[in-house]
Amino acid sequence: MKAVVETRDLTKRFGNNYALSGLTMTVPRGHIVGFLGRNGSGKTTTIKILLDVIRRTSGEATILGEPAGSVATRRRIGFLGEDKRLYSYMTVQEIIAFTRPFFPTWRAETESRLLADFELPLSRKVSALSKGMRTKLGLLLNLSRHPELLILDEPSEGLDPVMTEQMLQNLVQQAADGTTIFFSSHQVAEVEQIADHVIAIEKGRVILEGSLDYLRQKFQRINLVFDDPPPPEAFKGAGVDRVIVRGRTISILASSNVDDITALGPILAAKSVDVQSVGLKELFLEKVKGDDANS
């Protein structure tokens, strides 16, 4: 698996607070990677370090094999920020003309197609564009350069459902064209819709990483119903990520050894044992809760 982004033990400290606490992750080439996390979990900080907008406190970060922030690398990537703010004094035509010469891989045909698809008014000032239109313009500026890696920070933030759908479809199309998409979001549904790989972070650390298929296969929920539930400690062991007691039911989130854990049911006199697959939302919430409990 070739990586387009790699971080190792990445930390960022603002005063006494750590925004990132040893973040180690890999963004594989050719995938749509959802970067999931709660507000304040460190997603934007990570992206800003990758773009060299802020400087890391320690650790390593590389993009396309080069240290994060190198000028040569920036020619090969695209970025769309949460606010989609662009130079307000330029017109649509001017900002396209301004951006185009920076990128040798700029595709005029993509620019023309997106201009038509998005119905962007060339002579209108950026300051007069709605957030939806600014998103379209931002997408045009990034997709036309045909980047190897496109980084998006909360791309659907503030957009209506129609615009969000249009944007997500454009990202899927771009990925099919060979671009690796790395987008942050706190919307699990959005990540599940288009991503095939997920990296979830909490408090500046990775809590979940892998392809969606792998995560779905790996994590299972085992529900055991008892007349008289045993203590949760009875299930502590390899593969058990989290044990929750709800009345007579013990619910276990397992990342491995599902058969061994299930076999404990009859031994401990469970009345029923039920194994279910786990959705990304549930998995993410469990991991976040687990992280909260551990801290």
């Binding site: 800003k48 773009l51 060299d52 907008v53 802020i54 400087r55 000028v71 040569a72 920036r74 020619r75 990537i77 695209g78 970025f79 920020g81 606010d83 703010r85 662009l86 130079y87 307000s88 004094y89 330029m90 301004f98 951006t99 010469p101 920076f102 990128f103 920070d153």
Partner: protein, 240 residues
């Protein structure tokens, strides 16, 4: 491309400052030339021109140059465009270089053009003021007063917010001017005297005679370079 962006972002401020300085210079020349008199003798413009460059132009240009130094990444962070700018394949150093050089050129132009306007104003009014004197004084003002520009440049990299950096910049320019004018031990560092040294200006004609000293100008210019390097270091290291 980056140069075009920097120019687009600063041009209206530059034109406004230039227009304001031309108004100030015109008013000062006529005031000093006692414009209320119907007949203006040629030498009145010599005195008026010298007094304008040394007085009104020096003072107003000093504050204007400081304003021309403001802007940059902290300003862009405030309006939300810094992420886009820094994601472009241009290093922070190059952005800083373009911004500081264009600002410095604007400051120089804002010193030279109003100074060169004085011979034009004199000629239009039927008098004269030597272009050579105006050019030399404008040039000295531009180089020597570059310190004020670099104060603005540094303030804009250290303090977020237009009002904070402008306020601090104004205070520093004011402090430099007044401390070197009032405090005896600092008088030899006075920029006004370094730029328009009265000892080489003829007391009767108010024109330059003899060799102009450049040591003070050079020291001030070197100091402005030091402040600019400091501003660059801050820009290269800080988070946006």
């Amino acid at each position: 491309m980056p140069i075009r962006k920097v120019w687009r972002e600063s041009r209206w401020r530059f034109f406004f400052i230039l227009a304001a300085l031309l108004v100030v210079v015109s008013a000062s020349v006529f005031y000093n030339a006692k414009a209320e008199k119907v007949v203006i003798e040629s030498k009145d413009f010599h005195e008026a021109g010298m007094r304008t460059i040394r007085g009104a132009l020096f003072l107003f240009w000093g504050f204007s140059a400081m304003f021309l130094g403001l802007g940059g990444f902290l300003r862009e962070r405030a309006v939300g465009t810094v992420d886009y700018t820094l994601s472009l394949p241009v290093s922070r150093t190059r952005w800083f270089l373009y911004r500081s050089l264009i600002g410095a050129l604007q400051s120089m132009a804002a010193a030279l053009i109003p100074a060169l306007a004085i011979p034009v104003i004199a000629a239009v009014s039927g008098g004269d003021y030597p272009i050579g004197d105006a050019f030399l004084m404008g040039l000295r003002l531009g180089f020597g007063g570059m310190l004020f520009y670099s104060v603005g440049l540094l303030a804009s990299t250290l303090f977020a917010g237009d009002y904070a950096s402008a306020g601090i910049g104004i205070a520093v320019v004011f402090a430099i001017n007044n401390s070197t004018r009032v405090i005896e031990s600092l008088k030899r560092f006075n920029l006004q005297d370094a730029i328009t040294p009265m000892q080489v200006i003829d007391e009767s004609t108010f024109l330059i005679h003899g060799q102009m000293p450049w040591n003070g100008i050079a020291c001030s210019f070197v100091l402005s370079l030091v402040l600019s390097v400091w501003a660059w270091k801050v820009t290269a290291a800080r988070d946006f």
